[in-house]
């Protein structure tokens, strides 16, 4: 399920380059290959499962966007889950079409992002992680209390409806391609954000905040903006997920979902654009296959976490591009 380029922000090596380690493929080719895989995939695997994976890919990429300014949120499930509930409610109770429901869900996540971001960016590093986790737990308890989430039962049997008023989303291929387009739009947006001057400033803040401040940048404004963008995209992922699996439940707002998205990013490569996609695919497949094996999923996830942190902190994509980068850079520099 490789999409787009090999995506390490620094090196421009494509898929084939990744394999051989020598050939440099223009990124356009890599993107074409990725796009082709995205188009063909539903004919090779179960489209509904793939569509769900794509939602988590977008979620992980949205989470990783925050990493570009050097912040680690431990509460992204709040945005994902809040939007999942709101969009589910809009679809099921208000009977709105998916486009509108997704918009309302994303808007809800955005508002939440503004409120949480405003408070959380007052502290950095470890405190930021703890505060986002605690704020997200507030949303979890809220979801337990308010009537429209149906507490333990969750919002079940959410109708999918039609996309653009024409195509029935209950057709699994329509469903898949809708999710694929949403993912691509989100991914492209994140790509554009990280490559823009705005993205460069974020990077400057991450590398040396006092210097960015002394250059006259309002650091907190930038942090808040990227936090809100990240929350909004996580919300878009959550709303789409509700439509795809027709369910919004407490799992969506649970802290373990925040943990899962961190693992996806960490496993795939947190410093890379494409890493979270790889990580999301792997973690989702792992959970799918472990579900029937009788093995304790939570313990396996925990073990992978530990191995990732102790042995390869750059993640899969990060380690590969590092290896290739070392090979390529040595003669040149």
């Amino acid at each position: 399920m490789a999409t787009t380029s090999a995506g390490p922000v620094r090196s421009q090596t494509g898929l084939a380059g990744l394999l051989s380690g020598k050939v440099r493929v223009p990124p356009i080719v890599a993107y074409a290959v990725g796009l082709a895989v995205l188009v063909v995939a539903p004919f090779l695997a179960y489209p509904l499962f793939l569509a769900k994976i794509l939602c988590f890919c977008l979620f992980a990429c949205a989470f990783n966007l925050l990493g570009s300014v050097g912040l680690l949120s431990f509460g992204h499930a709040a945005f994902f889950g809040a939007s999942a509930y709101v969009a589910g409610h809009a679809l099921k109770v208000w009977g709105l079409p998916f486009e509108l429901a997704a918009l309302i869900g994303t808007a809800a996540a955005t508002v939440l992002g503004v409120v949480f971001g405003f408070v959380a960016i007052r502290r950095q590093g470890l405190y930021f992680a703890m505060i986002t986790l605690a704020l997200a737990q507030m949303i979890y308890f809220l979801a337990l209390q308010v009537p429209f989430t149906h507490a333990e039962d969750g919002l079940t049997g959410v109708p999918r409806g039609y996309i653009l008023g024409l195509f029935n989303l209950n057709n699994l291929y329509v469903l898949y391609y809708t999710a694929a387009v949403i993912f691509l739009v989100g991914y492209f947006l994140i790509y554009r954000i990280t490559r823009s001057t705005f993205g460069q400033i974020l990077k400057a803040i991450r590398e040396k905040e006092p210097r960015a401040i002394s250059l006259g940048y309002r650091v907190n404004d930038y942090k808040l903006l990227v936090f809100v963008l990240s929350a909004a995209l996580a919300g878009l992922a959550g709303a789409t997920k509700t439509m795809v699996v027709q369910l919004a439940s407490l799992t969506d707002v649970h802290w373990s979902t925040s943990g899962d998205v961190i693992l996806m990013t960490l496993l795939g490569g947190s410093g890379t654009l494409f890493g979270p996609v790889v990580g999301a695919v792997l973690v989702e497949m792992l959970q799918f296959y472990l579900a029937d094996s009788g093995l304790p999923i939570q313990a396996v996830i925990g073990a992978i976490f530990i191995v990732c942190i102790l042995l390869f902190r750059r993640g899969i994509v990060g380690e590969i591009s590092q290896m290739l980068g070392a090979k390529r850079d040595t003669p040149a520099s």
Binding site: A129, Q137, G259, L266, Q298, V300, G302, A303
Partner: protein
């Protein structure tokens, strides 16, 4: 609104507050020494409770020996993990310590769910603490009075050990300037391991105290640690005494909310955290850095 309900919930709040205080204290000790946010603090609390349950059911060891043995076992497990795994991330960004202990929590909790399922297991109140005192307005079970008392004694004991003894001075020196402390011939890595063990033992102790009140379950620490996070953010990391006071008072506040507005009880600590962050981001007892 009867006075009876109010004082009953105040007692429940005081007990929860005792656990918050013990956990956030252990948390503060570990953070102060190692700069590690120990997400697994709730897991060690669970291990403490499970330890005493296992001691009772597998070895016939009662509550009073378990009160000593179980935190010790938790501390040994903690120190082994510190030596083998956690010590490897000290030189990295501190966020890796948080992620690593999160992974440990997921792993240990996952294995316990796998072995023991999620249902709670009852743990009997020790014989000599059954019954209670009738205070007229409130029936005070002996065991609950003991929990509050024991927590207070332990909290202030820890405060005393860190602030007033020579061991505490050495620990603080190792925190302030590990290089120089080493130059004085003090084995700093061993001291750090010991400090981690002490912080974990506090959580394990809280777990044993909690076992007869709440039943013993693999999931008992997972949610609690997030509430403790909020408590720590409210209190700030500045002072040991601050984390004790914050823990107790937020527990009581939670109990009061249960009386006046039950649906808000779960959330009140987080709402307080939100407000404190708006007004005083460093926390009530914290120093702005």
């Amino acid at each position: 609104m009867s006075f009876q309900i109010l004082s009953g919930q105040l007692l429940v709040g005081l007990i929860n507050g005792s656990f918050y205080a013990l956990l956030s204290l252990g948390f503060a000790v570990i953070f102060g020494l190692l700069g590690i946010i120990n997400v697994a603090q709730g897991t060690f609390y669970m291990l403490g409770a499970f330890g005493s349950w296992m001691l009772l059911n597998y070895a016939g060891v009662g509550y009073w020996p378990a009160l000593f043995l179980s935190p010790l076992i938790a501390a040994v497990v903690g120190m082994a993990l510190e030596k083998t795994l956690i010590a490897r991330v000290y030189k990295l960004d501190h966020i890796y310590g948080l992620l690593l202990t999160y992974g440990l929590m997921m792993f240990i909790q996952g294995m316990f769910v796998y072995w023991f399922a999620t249902a709670g297991r009852p743990y009997p109140v020790p014989l000599n603490l059954r019954g209670g005192f009738d205070l007229g307005f409130l029936f005070l079970p002996k065991y609950r009075a003991w929990v509050v008392l024991a927590s207070l004694v332990f909290c202030f004991g820890t405060w005393f050990a860190i602030e007033k003894t020579s061991l505490g001075r050495t620990l603080r020196a190792a925190t302030e300037n590990p290089q120089l402390t080493r130059a004085f011939g003090i084995n700093v890595p061993a001291l750090l391991t010991f400090g981690f063990g002490a912080g974990v033992a506090l959580a394990g102790f809280a777990g044993v105290l909690a076992a007869p009140i709440y039943s013993v379950s693999p999931l008992m620490g997972g949610e609690l640690v997030i509430t403790v996070f909020a408590v720590v953010v409210v209190g700030g990391m500045g002072s040991i005494l601050g984390s004790i006071v914050t823990g107790l008072s937020l527990g009581v506040l939670e109990g009061l909310t249960k009386v006046f507005y039950p649906p808000g009880a779960n959330m009140v600590i987080f709402v307080i955290m939100f407000i404190v962050l708006l007004i005083k981001p460093a926390g009530l007892f914290g120093r702005e850095r």
